[in-house]
Symmetry: C2
């Protein structure tokens, strides 16, 4: 592991000694005062160890906790697929898909959870909690079950049934909050403070980004260098903050000479981070970032993004940008991803593909770029979301003659 040198406020820059506080700078408050975890980048080894077990723990040299605290589920080491056919269709030089759904609970959230649960064990915390649109909750519930730690989960009432079913199966104590995600978030924070739970909510706990960043290490390591652009869906901002910080740290530590432009994609009906980024570009304050949120993509249905400051500042530091796409584009991208690449993503998981198409059109991603799309959540988490408007497969009697007739009629 790497002992952090400081926990620094993302807004005022005040540095705190590592582990002296859990969540945010007391002066700036939440979310302006979200913390970032910093290391002694001059002394990071120039190559990562290859441990026997394949997982994100091979990046221990840039993690705030050692593998001896790792919960017993394998997070990380997801596949990176080259898809030249899609590169051609999208009009870029090369395109890879990082399928970050191939993790224990089927979403990218397992990276942040693995490291956060490890920190909870190291710090001796005896229960965890989080608010979540569904994926982070399932992730925490799974890793807590494997670690035999109690956990308390707050999800908006509208979370899809498969996500709730994962939580119940894992034995988490689940509360469905009668309100949007943002209210579930506030309740989780208040309850965690009252009952002493270690809170894994995205954007609140700086350690989550420390796990999320490992996706950047994997991309860099598998490609042998960094691409020109990386595109990822954005809800509360903690995933894209991790993607950016990972690439930035590779540069800070001298492991990579360049940093790719990181692009965030939101749904048009839930785009507070896009709007905050525009304000930042105009020299206006990032906060408050709070607006109504409506999209079929439940994983990114966030009106009050908890990690918006990091999400804006880090993306700007990579010279990236933000873009919003319609729900129809999200659903179409899910289908395109399934049919062209064999990857079944929930609508938010395919946002990166929908976003790239728009980024190319607007000239923000140039045709000479090599691009990595991150796919963040499995289609099995929300099967109905992908299939909106598609006809059901026909029911046929079990004989070849009937089949032939159906084939003639419609194939």
């Amino acid at each position: 592991m790497a002992e952090p040198v400081s926990f620094r406020c993302i807004s005022c820059g005040q540095e705190f000694s590592p582990w002296s506080m859990d969540y945010f700078c007391p002066k700036c408050g939440f979310p302006a005062g979200n913390l970032e975890v910093l290391y002694d980048y001059a002394h990071v080894p120039k190559a990562f160890v290859k441990p026997e077990k394949f997982s994100l723990w091979r990046y221990e040299a840039l993690l705030p906790v050692g593998a001896e605290y790792a919960p017993p589920l394998r997070a990380g080491l997801t596949p990176l697929y080259s898809v030249p056919r899609l590169a051609k269709a999208l009009g870029v030089r090369a395109l890879w898909i990082k399928d970050d759904t191939l993790q224990p609970t089927a979403s990218c959230k397992d990276r942040g959870t693995a490291v956060t649960v490890a920190v909870a064990r190291k710090l001796g915390r005896t229960a965890l909690s989080c608010a979540s649109t569904g994926n982070a909750a399932a992730s925490l519930a799974g890793f807590c079950a494997a670690s035999q730690l109690p956990c308390y989960i707050f999800v908006p009432k509208a979370a899809p049934a498969p996500k709730i079913s994962q939580l119940v199966a894992f034995g988490a104590r689940v509360f469905r909050v009668d309100g949007p995600y943002d209210q579930a978030f506030s309740l989780a924070l208040a309850a965690s403070q009252k009952f002493g739970w270690y809170n894994r909510s995205d954007g609140l706990n700086p350690i989550v980004v420390e796990g999320n960043k490992t996706v950047a290490f994997e991309i860099w390591e598998e490609l042998g260098e960094v691409p020109e652009a990386v595109v990822v869906a954005v809800g509360d901002g903690a995933v894209i903050a991790g993607v950016c910080k990972g690439f930035l740290e590779l540069a800070w530590a001298g492991l990579s000479e360049r940093v790719p432009k990181v692009f965030g994609v939101q749904a048009s009906g839930a785009a507070p981070v896009v709007h905050a980024f525009r304000r930042f570009q105009r020299g206006e304050p990032i906060l408050p970032a709070e607006e109504p949120a409506e999209t079929i993509a439940d994983s990114i249905r966030v009106g009050k993004p908890a990690d918006v400051v990091k999400a804006v500042k880090y993306v700007a530091e990579t010279e990236g940008d933000y873009v919003a796409v319609s729900d129809a584009d999200l659903v179409a991208a899910s289908l395109e991803l399934a049919r062209e690449a064999g990857i079944f993503a929930e609508p938010s998981g395919a946002a990166s593909l929908a976003g790239l198409r728009k980024l190319v059109k607007e000239g923000l991603v140039e045709r000479s770029y090599r691009v990595v799309l991150i796919v963040t959540g499995s289609g099995l988490k929300d099967p109905q979301g992908v299939l909106r408007g598609l006809p059901e497969p026909p029911i046929i009697p079990p004989d070849v003659k009937a089949l032939s007739e159906v084939m003639t009629r419609c194939c």
Copy 2:
């Protein structure tokens, strides 16, 4: 790759030159004449190459097709978790769980599919097909989408919605057959012969077992030796046939000195392989194996198992056995797996855990044994199956006072 030395009939032992026929010995017919793929075991290298990409293709030295034909999705290299707590609870010396759901389409079927699609490409077949209770179909649909090959899928009408949704998303041509799996199987076979599709149905195509066997290679390689017992769910028999053949081949090739006892688990209401094994033990014929099938575990709801001959003969060769468990035991095992190990399995996926408990009780698995349980399918494939009878999480207003009241009342 290893060029097979013969395709041999599992019943009469007649050898055919490799690739001279697709499915079964013409003299014995299907399913008695199912083929097994054999290699020159004296000349297998004593260690497998570590290719750059982590996948089952690292076992090329015992696969009938080279990685140059591999479809572009990563199959294999799933995690193996040590769970001492469960070992203690079950009363065995050591226990590992092989989470074979962490594959591109979330079931163990991706192993057989990867190798079968590769063979289809090598042989120049231009379309694939299969009958399936759901998981093999989703697997074939995903790998065909990634490979841009058309595929035709036959599932029983009763397959769970999430499985159907995967098929539709992947763009497969799907037929829901008004009858049980066995009729879908027959229809797929007849249609494939009529239309010239390469049929991946479990138990029909001998190549499927060639992919399935790689789970044994991974267990052996990760443990550095083989355990005393391996337990796995059984539907049509192709998965357990693969598990057995993998361990047997390691011995045939001199890579392992021992072969673990392989145990198969079926649902009490759908146990034709258990009954066939008992007949075999009494010196009676294995076939016909055909009986009604009723269980909540749709993945193993098979009344006429297509690979029963291999499933019986291979298990006997490992000195293993079969056991049947109730639906209630399957559901309880799903929950136990989720809550004790953080692994969310569909009911059939947890059959290995339910089976082990019974095997220990009956003395077939001794307390001195080190045991590997294979988990075959994700709980996200059938979330309702796992949650039968469990209460829904409470809906609460977004305030701490209301939460405290709920906590006092029921936590």
